[in-house]
């Protein structure tokens, strides 16, 4: 079982890869809309990547209103 820290790191790594950013350039508290310059649709695409990676299903309501990696990682952690 992953710890929350591990999950958070994996979320950051995956987001960086998905949006072609240098590894380590994202932090847990970053707002992904601002930091990645993405819109809500691109966020949904990122979520699908995360679901595949963690082997979980994240219902849309779980990520409603979430805009930072830390909270996103917490939502993922609760479903692992």
């Amino acid at each position: 079982m992953r710890t929350l820290e591990q999950t958070t790191q994996e979320v950051l790594d995956l987001a960086a890869t998905h949006f072609q950013l240098p590894a380590g350039s994202l932090a847990p508290g970053d707002d992904f809309f601002k930091k990645l310059g993405i819109d809500s649709l691109q966020t949904l695409e990122m979520l699908s990547r995360l679901e595949n990676h963690f082997g979980i299903e994240l219902p849309d309501y779980e990520v409603q209103g979430v805009s930072d990696f830390k909270t996103l990682a917490e939502r993922i952690q609760s479903r692992l």
């Binding site: 707002d31 819109d39 809500s40 649709l41 699908s48 849309d60 309501y61 805009s67």
Partner: protein, 570 residues
């Protein structure tokens, strides 16, 4: 289609539709690749009537208000029908608002019933703002886990009355829905939409974009929004068509839904449409050179053949693969909620997929103008719908002035706001606050806004007053939020942004610390509500005798600044 001229209310029309089309499929619900449910109109009625009966048993009577805060799904429509059948007024709210905002609007609407989903209720029930909704008596929650703490709510699935409910007739001029067009921050704007508004709008829209049994509409825009309520519920239901709901709106599942359910119509906001365009363009660009040349030639032939009007049969044969990706039966993409760039519209039309763009606002009963495709005109928002009188007030020499509208689809007014209503509807004409002009063929061209607000590409209306609270107690002398286009009109409907205007304390600078503070507060807002820059003004803001900021006077003062250098990035 039902002859809607015979009906007095939404409930009466839907009641007949459920009987007339009893054996037709009305709803399909899918979650990811799984189809969860498929209901006929007859089954829909069997689900809705016990709910109305239970509401009536609990004291729900004509004119009582019931709010729905749900994602797009069959229980939304079943609940709405149950409310209309019982003579109630529906208050559809945006499930994407924060719990505090939702409670504020529930309170403002005076709703006695709230129907919501468990994940939303979990957040709503934890909010302290709940105490404000003093008129609320009954909360129904769908899809609650077996042992969930419902915090005083009842399970929607178990809220069923015995026996037949009593149909409660309503008059055409009675309020059918209270739809909030804005105002979650300060002054809620609850548009009181009458039964007549919907009946008339439905007749006008379906005269151009018809539904019939067998048509499948993919419902993606939130159903609380005027567009989806009309073309994803009332319109198809009065014609015996089917509505498809997806519980997961990830792009890959939306894409799969088109061929899987043979979608006929879909409504999208410009942002999603542009994203679709980007995806398609990338695929075209990946084609090997020879294939690309053939493809471009086919697109050119299609363009020539559809110049005067859409010819779906021909387009589907010429550009088979593109159309098959959309299921092969897509007739039109309806785009609304915000302005769509002409090149995006043209892109799809050239592929043989007409995009029905138009112009409207909640206060006008959804659409005012729609592109009738005779011929397709990407550079305009179309012609006025049947029954719509549209005129341009105080036109400038180039013909641009404020768009005003008169029709049976105009709201009766804003709830509890007689003054605001009187300012907005003058002698029966709705002042839209949008600027535009008619061209020589009678098509409307929009040219910016007269009002201080923006509409995002996601179709969200943002009023600066509504987001100012987040900047309260900022260590500055004064602040005010504006739509940049309101200060520096650029006669454009795209790329609209909000700016924060600051009057710093004497001798203070815009330090990194202050920037961080502004950014931190800005990030508390939902992403589409955030400001994009700061404007510094080195003088006191003009104020009224009661010390309220004179926004118009301040905007006039700011307009003297150079737009290019005045807005500082955050």
């Amino acid at each position: 289609m039902l002859d809607l001229s015979k009906y007095q209310s939404i409930g009466e029309a839907l009641k007949d539709a459920l009987d007339q089309f009893a054996n037709e499929v009305c709803l399909i619900e899918a979650d990811r690749e799984r189809e969860k449910e498929r209901l006929t109109y007859g089954e829909f009625k069997a689900r809705a009537h016990p709910l109305t009966k239970a509401l009536q048993d609990a004291g729900f009577v004509a004119g009582d208000r019931a709010s729905i805060i749900m994602t797009n799904q069959p229980k939304w429509l079943i609940s709405a029908y149950a409310v209309f059948f019982g003579g109630g007024t529906l208050v559809p709210l945006d499930y994407k608002l924060t719990p505090d905002e939702q409670w504020q609007l529930v309170k403002h609407s005076g709703a006695s019933v709230l129907i919501t989903e468990y994940p939303i209720w979990r957040q709503l029930s934890a909010s302290a703002a709940r105490a404000a909704a003093i008129k609320l008596q009954t909360v129904l929650v769908t899809e609650s886990p077996p042992n969930a703490d419902l915090a005083g709510a009842r399970r929607w699935e178990e809220f069923r009355g015995e026996g037949e409910p009593v149909f409660v007739p309503r008059a055409r001029k009675d309020t059918a829905c209270i739809v909030y067009s804005s105002g979650t921050g300060g002054r809620p704007k609850g548009c009181m939409m009458t039964h007549e508004n919907y009946l008339e709008q439905c007749v006008a829209l379906t005269s151009i974009y018809p539904f019939w049994p067998g048509v499948r509409y993919l419902s993606i825009l939130p159903t609380n929004h005027a567009i989806d309520f009309m073309v994803g519920f009332f319109g198809p239901f009065t014609c015996g068509a089917a509505v498809v709901h997806l519980r997961t709106l990830r792009p890959e599942y939306v894409r799969e839904a088109f061929p899987k359910y043979k979608i006929t119509y879909v409504s999208l906001v410009p942002l999603v449409l542009k994203n679709l365009q980007k995806g398609l363009q990338a695929r075209f660009d990946e084609l090997p050179a020879t294939k690309r040349r053939i493809f471009d030639a086919l697109v050119a032939i299609n363009k020539a053949l559809t110049k005067g009007r859409p010819r779906p049969g021909i387009s589907r044969r010429l550009l088979k693969q593109v159309h098959e990706a959309f299921g092969g039966e897509l007739r039109t993409i309806i785009v609304g909620g915000a302005f769509t760039e002409p090149q995006t519209l043209q892109f799809f039309y050239d592929l043989g997929i007409p995009v029905a763009n138009g112009y409207g606002l909640t206060e006008a009963g959804t659409a005012i103008t729609v592109n009738d495709l005779k011929p397709f005109r990407a550079d305009t928002v179309g012609k006025p719908l049947p029954g719509m009188e549209v005129r341009i007030l105080n036109p400038a020499p180039d013909g641009v002035g404020e768009v005003s509208v008169r029709s049976k689809t105009i709201m009766s007014g804003y709830l509890n706001e007689p003054e605001l209503t009187a300012e907005t509807i003058v002698d029966g004409w709705l002042m839209t606050g949008d600027l535009g002009r008619f061209d020589e063929t009678g098509h409307l061209r929009l040219a910016g806004r007269k009002k201080n607000m923006i509409v995002t590409e996601e179709g969200k209306n943002i009023y600066p007053e509504d987001i100012e609270a987040v900047f309260e107690s900022l260590p500055v002398k004064e602040f005010c939020v504006f739509a940049a286009n309101y200060i520096w009109p650029k006669r454009s409907m795209v790329g609209e942004q909000l700016v924060l205007v600051l009057r710093l304390e004497q001798g203070r600078q815009l330090t990194d610390q202050l920037r961080q503070d502004i950014n931190a507060r800005n990030n508390r807002l939902l992403n589409y509500k955030r400001i994009h820059g700061v404007v510094l003004l080195d003088e006191d803001f003009p104020r009224t005798a009661s010390l309220k900021i004179k926004r118009n006077a301040l905007a006039e003062r700011l307009a003297q600044l150079d737009n290019a250098t005045a807005v500082l990035p955050l």
